[in-house]
């Protein structure tokens, strides 16, 4: 290692010059970055959320891309899954609190409507429940464990993925981030 103060000063100035230049060269246009990544559909943060169309529990047709223009919380759940049941009140509260600002969607994973409808009615679930009866949507989203929740911004880009049961605070925190972005 050099022991001369002059040599060290040169090293520090060189690092400052090279570092600043590299930071300047690495500067990104956020617009360009999003434009490139938005073209690709993938179940991962920073990518366009894979589009899907399935019937809802009430017999309507749900298409994810139709929801663009408003942030969306996409929760995968099933009636047999206790943690999913535990977090349903949080999604209900969020759907009421952010009504008109954020869309809450609960995709039922691989169950018949005859099973889900009475369950949803008993819990008075007010948000949309698309029926993924053959599990194709959860396969597309690579959902390996229930519950899993995807936070999608108004442009249809996945901004955060939460695997496992979510609590009210985290849910509200992530929704606030979606609204801020």
């Amino acid at each position: 290692m050099p022991r001369s103060r002059f040599t060290w000063t040169l090293v520090i100035l060189g690092a400052l010059l090279l570092g600043t230049t590299w930071i300047f060269l690495s500067q990104e246009s956020v617009y360009e970055l999003n434009l490139i990544d938005n073209m690709v559909e993938a179940p991962a943060v920073g990518y366009q959320a894979p589009d899907f169309t399935v019937p809802t529990m009430t017999g309507e047709t749900f298409t994810l891309s139709d929801q663009r223009g408003r942030p969306l919380v996409l929760n995968f759940w099933a009636t047999w899954c206790p943690p999913c049941r535990a977090e349903i009140p949080f999604f209900q509260a969020a759907s009421r609190k952010y009504n008109g600002q954020v869309t809450v969607v609960g995709v039922d994973d691989g169950e018949p409507i005859e099973l889900v409808a009475p369950f949803a009615s008993r819990l008075d679930i007010a948000y949309v429940i698309p029926m993924d009866e053959d599990g194709a949507v959860s396969k597309e989203y690579r959902v390996h464990s229930l519950p899993s929740t995807f936070f999608i911004d108004e442009g249809g880009v996945i901004r955060y993925i939460h695997i496992g049961v979510i609590n009210r605070a985290v849910l509200e925190d992530k929704i606030a981030q979606l609204l801020e972005s």
Partner: protein, 251 residues
């Protein structure tokens, strides 16, 4: 790449597993390096453990305070860690503050203690990069190079593996310097300079980096500041000292 591992009916998140493994490895490394530098091993190990625990608790409490309305009716949720909800910056500040004051209370020499903790910090940072590679949200910019990795049909820079290489280089610089330690803090500053210059370089290849206004990478700016700080203190150490016992950084 591999967000979860299935063992029978259990689905384990790889990112969490690697992070826990990293913490264990970092603590184990602290024991070894403290002994190697002839520091008080239990005190140094305790410092690392107390700092980690304080950081963990503070990050949780800060999140709870920020979202008190959500926890007020569910107090048990505060101590149930699996549902997430942590404030990273509160954890880091609390962890470093507790480490500093614990070290002062126990009269641990600052420079020498940092020398002993440097490999553990690097191991922890490398675990974070590996966790991000296996199951995190990070990914590199598009690249058609022989070592690019394919993510959802697009070839990208394996940016987290570059971060791992920066960590390995910093560990090697620590090892190389440990044979001729010139002053207390020398090893910490050398490995900090190598690691921060590595992160400054490789973060350019991260596609979803945290940015400030005008699109500059926050990690690059912090890395440059850390690099310059480390070089300045190395200059002070090398131009004013001859032996580890005769000079320390800010002790």
């Amino acid at each position: 790449m591999l967000p979860s591992i299935s063992i029978g009916p259990l689905v384990l998140p790889t990112a969490s597993l690697v992070t826990i493994l990293g913490i264990w490895l970092a603590l184990a490394t602290t024991e070894k390096t403290a002994a190697h530098l002839r520091l008080d091993v239990p005190f140094t190990y305790n410092l690392a453990t107390v700092a980690l625990a304080s950081g963990f608790i503070a990050s949780r409490l800060a999140f709870v305070v920020a979202h008190w309305s959500a926890y007020r009716q569910n107090l048990l949720g505060i101590i149930w860690p699996l549902t997430g909800g942590y404030d990273l910056w509160a954890g880091l500040i609390a962890g470093f503050a507790v480490a500093f004051f614990y070290g002062r209370a126990r009269q641990l020499p600052l420079g020498a203690t940092l020398d002993a903790l440097a490999p553990a910090i690097l191991v922890g940072l490398m675990a974070v990069s590996l966790a991000d590679f296996l199951g995190g949200p990070g990914y590199g910019v598009e690249a058609d190079i022989p070592w690019s990795i394919s993510l959802f049909g697009i070839k990208r820079h394996p940016v987290q593996l570059y971060e791992l290489i920066a960590g390995i280089a910093a560990l090697l610089s620590w090892l190389a310097s440990s044979h001729g330690r010139s002053f207390s803090g020398h090893l910490f500053l050398t490995s900090a300079a190598v690691y921060s210059s590595g992160r400054l370089f490789v973060d350019a290849y991260r596609a979803n980096a945290a940015l400030i206004a005008n699109g500059y990478h926050i990690v690059q700016i912090l890395s440059l500041a850390a690099l310059l700080g480390a070089l300045f203190l190395l200059m002070r150490g090398f131009t004013s000292s001859v032996s580890p016992e005769s000079a320390n950084i800010s002790e």
